[in-house]
């Protein structure tokens, strides 16, 4: 059935381009701190709120720290943590959902009830409360968003497994004596990856926005550690004197989220599945 549709689907080039761009962005975010022209945390009383110039291409912030260096140093935190969070919730949620759909019974009731309870909270409200109570830090912020994030994939994976379970090819795998886990991961997973991937790609932008939002509120990454959301927050009160210190990280966030969202759109068009409403 799958083999017959071998002809190139529209959007393949666009998808490849944005996939490449996203991977390049993630790799770059990991090595970016190496390119920082100055020490991102070094304060300098001589360059307080310095306007962009040859030595400091994006100017300096209220403590005289090089904005470009801080953006590069913060790339790892801002970009990579969003990707890692999506990957983690994706794996955990998919696994829970597959178990739930495959075994049914008590496991299903238990997992789905837990998911339902977490879905009753607006994601950002619970995240703000959890991160706020636990105190800042990227780990806590990721945990705060992760407790609700996995439910999306769990519900999707469960629904997919339930429909695929009765298909002849799954029955055949079962009759061949394959174990439950082999069937789940080798037979089922490749056949249900589409909607899961579309939703994961859509979540990249959402998670990036949420993590930056928590850091902006001061309950995510803490100063002086560089992170784009907290950079915007820290320089906000000096916007009149040094707008570059706010605008540079702001555009870094905007451009990254746009690339992530484009990737989500490309996946959606290519695989022709609709993402879930948030």
């Amino acid at each position: 059935m799958q083999k017959a549709k071998k002809k190139k689907r529209p959007g393949a080039v666009k998808l490849r381009f944005f996939l490449f761009l996203t991977i390049a962005l993630v790799v770059f975010s990991l090595i970016a701190p190496l390119f920082a022209p100055h020490d991102p945390n070094a304060t300098n009383p001589q360059t307080l709120n310095l306007a962009p110039c040859a030595e400091y291409p994006l100017g300096c912030d209220l403590y005289g720290r090089c904005v470009l260096s801080r953006i590069l140093a913060g790339a790892g935190t801002s970009v990579f943590s969003a990707v890692a969070l999506v990957a983690l919730t994706f794996v955990i949620g998919t696994f829970a959902g597959m178990i739930s759909g495959w075994y049914g019974g008590i496991a299903d009731t238990l997992i789905m009830r837990i998911a339902e309870i977490f879905l009753a909270f607006p994601q950002m409200v619970l995240a703000i409360a959890v991160a706020g109570i636990l105190g800042g830090g990227m780990g806590n912020a990721m945990l705060a968003l992760g407790v609700t994030g996995w439910t999306l994939y769990a519900r999707l994976a469960r629904a997919q497994v339930m429909t695929l379970k009765e298909e002849p090819f799954v029955q055949a795998a079962r009759l061949s004596g394959f174990g439950a886990f082999r069937i789940m991961f080798r037979t089922l997973l490749p056949n249900m990856a589409g909607p899961l991937i579309v939703n994961a790609a859509t979540q990249l932008g959402t998670m990036m926005i949420s993590l930056a939002g928590l850091s902006f509120l001061g309950i995510g990454v803490q100063e002086p550690k560089a992170e784009w959301g907290s950079m915007v927050a820290a320089s906000r009160s000096y916007m009149q004197l040094a707008p570059w210190a706010v605008l540079a990280p702001a555009f870094a966030i905007l451009i990254t989220v746009m690339i992530f969202n484009y990737l989500g759109d490309c996946f959606r068009d290519y695989l022709d599945v609709e993402a879930e409403h948030e």
């Binding site: 977490f118 909270f121 619970l126 902006f216 509120l217």
Partner: protein, 314 residues
Amino acid sequence: MLKYIGKRLLHLLIILVAVSFITFLLMYISPGDPARKKLTSGGSIAVSEELLEKTRREMGLDRPFLVQYGSWLSGVVKGDLGNSYKDGLPVSAKLSKGLGYTLTLSLSSLVLALAVSLPLSILTAVKKNTPADYIFRFLSFIGNSLPNFLISVLLMYFLCVKARLLPVIAENSFKGLLLPTLALAIPLSGRFLRQFRAEILEQLGKSYVSGAAARGVRSYYILISNVLHNALPGILTVIGLSVGTLLGGSVVIETIFRWPGLGKLVMDSITARDYPVIQGFVLFAAVVYVLINLVTDLLHRKIDPRIARQEGRV
């Protein structure tokens, strides 16, 4: 229908009990001793051991976990969410004071977002793949990619600092409401436009549309009485789910613009480690969110009787 509502309400009750349990757990994951937090949140640093012991007993912290939960829950049912650590005022009183502000802000943002996105989504769906469609879709894409805190900061920079059109700090007036409303409404309209357009396009592609057109029914009549009517349940779901975004967004926006609603109250409470207030807000937000989604579901069935019939058959 009544039987269905009863079933849903029972289910709702179970969910709410579970939600209250999670909310109560929030207190437990908070680092440190609640009695000490209560005593020190007023500003004093040195607290004697006897006073701590006394406060613990007063707060019932020496009782088993489930007993504490039970007594907290029985208070919550009666509308008693405990007292603030900071000033000893009842949490429910503090929340109801901020509620009006948050409601004003959320409603005005929702109305603005709908006023912008509904007509535009119809336009972009009908004029699919025309320049107008591309332009508005691109704008909605940008709106969707802009975190609300960035919009706030950019709006402040361009309107308040550069153009000096508006005051930076929101007073309780129309002028003060304008910026926070815009900051909440822009990303919301971006998302609405996108999802409404998808709902309308899905209906436009159905065969009943071409059938009606072939019979000579006027196109605007098909659009208004068939297409929009059938797209309405999907649109309502999107609006219902946006309440969660508004509640979360209000924390960010109210903090930035110093709008004295629930969101600002929560951020102030996080800074002051005033946990009962945070707990009260989370519980309130979850209850509102669950209820709104129940109402959307019920409206869904009212508009589209097929859903109920389908379930009846299964």
